[in-house]
Amino acid sequence: MEEKIVSLKQQGLTLKQIAEQLDMPIGKVQYAWRKWRAQHGEVTTAAAAPKRKTEGKKSMKPKPKATPATSVKQVASTLQHDASKQSPLLDHAPDGFWKLPDRYDADMMHAVVQSPNAVYVFWEVSDDVKETLAMQFMRPWEDLPKAFRILDVTLLDYTSGHANRSYSFELPEMTNSWFVRPLDPNTTYVFEFGIRTMEGEFLPIVASMPLDTPRAEPAGVGRFAEPVRRWQYGEVESPELLDTLPKYAAYRFVR
């Protein structure tokens, strides 16, 4: 089977097309292809690069590349998850035409405001996380009960784990978005998707950034007045206010 996958891949088919042709889950095809590439990686490198005789002893190791032209290229060339070299937005319907992907193999959750009382939340859970939980609880992902939690973290640090109040509820299987309502105006919320464990605990997998619901009535002098004043008069170095459009860094955890 592995040979077949490799041969189709070398004919230029995408992993998705191979999975369809061989009627296999894409995960298996991906795994086989990555494994083959990892095992044969040095062969292709060696064939492409001029051989150096002095390397005899360590020849099993993938060689560090000779200084590349630019460091930008260097990063691009070390991308491991680009095995299939295609845009995550590239997907095909059975008829061969492009379609929007049904899901992305990623872990994330985003929440956006619909109204002072409602927020729209969507999320993705990667295959690896699903498999990790399946290995942990010795049950297939599909059998783990899915749940959603709403945390009111107004004036609290979410990472401390504390919340003013929380509420969790079960979700139907295969759900990847939710209109959360009713919520309270002028409240800071964090939303979490996760599983309900056998003991009944909520185990979060992905969480949104903290989000303020809009005010829906005159505030008088409310909780924002003092932070605004401190920022206005330069008493703090950065505003103590949520920013819904933070700068995003693709490699934020790479230090």
């Binding site: 190791k61 930008v72 491991q80 937005l89 929007l100 985003h110 002028n186 464990t197 934020r252």
Partner: protein, 727 residues
């Protein structure tokens, strides 16, 4: 002059509906807007020839379509066709009432054509000229009218803002200090980006100020500063409502032209079909022969004189209403009371046919009444010191005042893909910028596909469910083009020809308008250009590492990691977060990440372990985009699920160190937890390349409790590399 000011703002926007192929129905939206709104407004400016203090916002899609020779030539052809239809109608012996209106249209379409040709078919020249004469002020909008509160990153919002300003500057020769926020949608943080991009004022709905914190002293009688110093001018609903409301407003008067009754539907198909879509679709001609008449389906013919009489009445009434409103607030000083009235420009002319003439006459009445008009820019010059700073929460001028129109069950399906495009752009720009001119061009084209997809019009149209199919198709098309081009970028399949094709599909914005680095983050810049290159690394998952080590295992991890680092290996150690220790530290070749659980207050051991493993996998997913791992080494049962799952997906060998097992720690153990740990321990024995077990453990005895293979071996001395020749 009386105390107080009036400021009129008109926002002209259409989605970018320019198509190379002929006979697209959506292109008629542009013709209608030109014929009914843009030129009639210009006529008023030209007639009055003096500073009106109107602020005209013109969105980049409108600018680009007005400047497009294809659209220009088709518009002229459209006018000729209209004149032909009017001539045909006049030859048909219509009733006296109809003939009067037809003659009105005949003169009007002739005038439209004269004006259009006078400006060399490019109305940007007209607006620019009048602005340079000082008759009107102008601002623009973000590139494609993306809905800011639903964007995910600073970069996407910034790209929308900056490329919009760039486009405007290219056509109009100056950079405005004001901007129209699409849908008047404000969200905390957008003001920071606006300020950084040189924007000093924008417009919001009045409830933005009424619900601000603290409540502004002047209510909606003056603009406020947002926390980051952008002046927010509030829409005065009482005054605006006089104009736009179908209930209390002017446009519903029986003498005005009826919008919903078009000549196309009053004529036989045989007669009209040569003026209709070649595929047999009937659409509005723009010749509307009836007046609103009243709350009835029986519409009477339009009488131009009557409509003109009402324009005069309504302009006077408006000036009187405004005068009373300003007088009621005459006591306000520092700054004086300001009424801001922002509108969609298309309301005047397209929806309310007589609207542009009304605006012209209002300008005259206000002069007669001694009411001072002002632009927001002038207001700020005079009164910038008098504005209060407040916090404004997310809000819009849409239905119910927030995001209901742009996120609901009819359009929510788009958001996931838009956010994916945003994060992909950040990553692609970090990885590929500056690689070659061709690649840079591709990055700009990817940004172009994204901004065309993020236009708030698609969500708006899907919400309204008219022409929903077009909006959904346009969104999908831009997402597909994005996916295909990004794949070509990854696969090194770019060519000038390919990029030309992508651009020609929707030739919106010039490459000089689009700045790749709007998507760059300083951190990614460091990672991709300044960070030292690293060799392939070993990923270590350990239940503890440095700090107050509890047991033998922690010391073992430290010894092994130190020994491997001394041998020249690069290691990434992932271990649980510990209060008082940094979340990240680095010692030479050793990176240590102390990872927070996805939830800190789980009660049950198994769930804590699961939360830890999930957190490890998520972190490694973030790292593997840059760091290449060649092996995984996990310690103890608590890290097994993440280690197994990652070894499989990264296709790297897995090494396991188990100084003890549940059955050796707890020889007589039983029960659910014991059994669960036993099963997890058992699972790693099958996957690992080598399992190193504590020296005190009898492998034979282990075999009686676990399914062991010949990959189990006693621990080596920490000085000896456990990875052998395989890594």
């Amino acid at each position: 002059m009386k105390p107080g000011y009036f400021s009129l703002v008109l926002h002209a926007h259409l989605p970018y509906v320019r198509h190379e192929e002929e006979h697209r129905l959506e292109e008629r939206w542009v013709y209608e807007a030109i014929s009914e709104t843009y030129i009639p407004i210009l006529w008023q400016v030209d007639r009055l020839k003096r500073p009106l203090h109107w602020t005209v916002s013109i969105s980049p899609p409108v600018i680009e379509m007005l400047a497009d020779p294809l659209v220009q030539d088709r518009y002229v052809a459209h006018l000729d066709e209209m004149l032909e239809l009017i001539a045909l109608e006049l030859s048909e012996g219509r009733s006296e009432a109809e003939v009067g209106t037809l003659h009105f249209y005949e003169r009007r379409y002739q005038d439209l054509k004269n004006t259009f040709l006078h400006w060399n078919k490019n109305l940007n020249q007209a607006f620019r000229t009048y602005r340079e004469h000082g008759y009107i002020d102008m601002v623009t909008c973000t590139a494609t009218h993306g809905f800011n509160p639903h964007l995910f990153t600073d970069q996407a919002a910034r790209a929308e803002i900056r490329s919009g300003l760039n486009c405007f500057e290219r056509h109009y020769g100056f950079r405005p200090t004001g901007i129209w926020l699409p849908e008047c949608a404000y969200t905390p943080g957008v003001d920071r980006i606006l300020y950084e991009e040189g924007v000093r004022y924008t417009f919001v709905d009045e409830h933005a100020l009424l619900e601000a914190d603290p409540t502004p002293d002047k209510g909606i009688g003056a603009p406020v500063y947002s926390p980051n110093g952008v002046a927010l001018f509030p829409r005065d609903q009482i005054i605006s409502g006089k104009i736009w409301s179908s209930m209390i407003g002017y446009p519903g008067h029986p003498d005005y032209r009826e919008f919903y009754r078009d000549l196309a539907y009053d004529r036989d198909w045989e007669y009209i079909h040569s003026f209709m879509h070649p595929e047999g679709i009937r659409f509005d001609t723009g010749l509307k022969m009836h007046r609103i008449t009243g709350d009835t389906d029986e519409k009477d013919y339009y009488v131009r004189d009557w409509a003109e009489h009402q324009i005069h009445n309504h302009a006077t009434d408006f000036a009187q209403t405004l005068e009373a409103h300003l007088e009621a607030h005459a006591g306000q000083t520092f700054p004086p009371f300001l009424v801001t009235a922002p509108f969609d420009a298309e309301l005047f002319g397209h929806w309310w046919f007589e609207g542009p003439e009304f605006l012209g006459q209002v300008a005259e009445r206000l002069e007669e009444f001694g009411i001072e008009t002002i632009t927001p820019a002038m207001f700020l010059e005079r009164h910038f010191q008098d504005l209060q700073t407040v916090h404004v929460s997310m809000n819009t001028w849409g239905r119910k005042g927030y995001g209901d129109v742009w996120i609901n069950e009819r359009n929510e399906w788009m958001l996931r893909h838009l956010h994916m495009m945003e994060t992909q752009l950040v990553k692609d720009v970090a990885d590929y910028r500056g690689t070659s001119p061709l690649v840079d061009r591709a990055l700009k084209q990817l940004i172009r596909h994204y901004v065309l997809a993020v236009s708030s019009d698609w969500a708006f149209i899907l919400d309204g469910q008219t022409t929903a199919q077009y909006a959904a198709e346009r969104f999908r098309e831009h997402a597909r083009l994005f996916a295909e081009l990004e794949t070509a970028l990854y696969g090194d399949k770019l060519s000038d020809h390919l990029l030309d094709e992508h651009y020609r599909a929707y030739p919106f914005l010039q490459d000089e308008d689009v700045e790749i680095d709007t998507f760059l983050s300083p951190h990614d810049y460091y990672v991709t250009t300044e960070r030292e290159p690293e060799q392939a690394a070993i990923l270590v998952l350990a239940p503890e590492f440095t700090g107050n080590l509890v047991g033998e295992l922690g010391h073992r991890v430290v010894e092994e990691v130190d020994a491997r680092a001394a041998e020249g290996e690069t290691l990434y150690v992932l271990t649980p977060h510990k209060e008082g220790l940094p979340e990240y530290e680095r010692h030479g070749r050793v990176h240590v990440y102390r990872v927070r659980l996805t939830s800190p207050f789980l009660e049950h051991v198994m769930n804590q372990v699961a939360a830890q493993n999930v957190a490890y996998v998520k972190l490694v997913h973030e790292l593997v985009n840059v760091v290449r791992f060649k092996a995984i080494h996990h310690f103890d049962w608590m890290t097994i699920p993440a280690a197994r799952s990652l070894a499989k997906s990264l296709a790297v060998p897995l090494y396991s160190t188990m100084l003890s097992f549940e059955t050796t720690r707890n020889p007589h153990g039983h029960g659910g937890l014991f059994d669960a740990i036993h099963r997890i321990e058992n699972s790693v024995l099958a996957d690992a390349a080598t399992v190193f077990v504590g020296a005190d453990i009898s492998i034979d005895e282990l075999g009686s409790r676990y399914a062991i293979k010949d990959n189990v071996t006693p621990c080596l001395s920490p000085d000896a590399s456990p990875y052998g020749q395989n890594v």
